[in-house]
Amino acid sequence: MVLELASWVLMAAGGLFTMIGALGLVRMPELFTRMHAASVIDTLGAGLMLLGMMLAAGLSLVSLKLLFILGLLVFTGPVVTHALARAALHENIKPLLAEDRRGASRAEDGRGASRAEDGRGASRAEDGRGASRAEDGRGASRAEDGRGVSRAEDDRGASRAEDGRRISR
């Protein structure tokens, strides 16, 4: 009885997370956020649902096969996502940054060193604080060409590479 209830709860939660992930797959704005949403299906959705089915099946060959399926999904999901991200970056599909959408409205943030600049370079010219930050030598002097490929001109390139949102080649 308790096992049945736990199985029901796990399967309902799995179905909920599966639908959330699929909804994110439709609603998210670009490829990398869609990958983020699709990974919810692979991990939480499939994991909880298969766990619920394992509880419903009891200790038998069926639950062993379900465990194999779970292991397969756990190992192949990150492999496929990694290959997809590398192939997309190889085709010059860049992640859409928050600064790309909001422009100079994030300039009041005040943390210039830990923040990725706008790849277009236009909003930095018009926000008025980019020039003064470029003079104080804290690593904000970043010249970038129109396609967003960053040239490592400053000495803070390592910290910018750790940012993870800027792809430098």
Binding site: M11, T18, L25, V26, M53, A57, R86, E91, I93
Partner: protein
């Protein structure tokens, strides 16, 4: 409860297929195809419970392996333009 899970999986499948049709780049379609594969495995497992035929789990396992190979082959094709590229000009 298996029927409810089946309905949830079918709704998710419809949403994933919508993304596969709409997707602007080929990578969106590959991502949606991978999600459809994962959901198909789940659907096979749930249907096995729903109809009391646990043989469907074997089909699900096979489908998972084929899904991995198929997605990686498609991605490799669209990255290299060829499935049998030279290993030395990798990069």
């Amino acid at each position: 409860m298996f029927a409810a899970a089946t309905i949830a999986i079918l709704v998710s499948l419809v949403l994933a297929v919508i993304r596969a049709i709409k997707g602007p780049t080929v990578f969106d379609r590959a991502l949606a195809g991978n999600a459809v594969g994962t959901l198909a495995i789940l659907l096979l497992a749930v249907l096995g419970f729903l109809t009391d035929r646990p043989e469907f789990l074997d089909i699900g396992l096979t489908y998972g392996l084929l899904n991995l190979i198929g997605t990686l082959a498609v991605l490799k094709f669209f990255r290299r333009g060829d499935l049998a590229y030279d290993m030395e000009d990798q990069g």
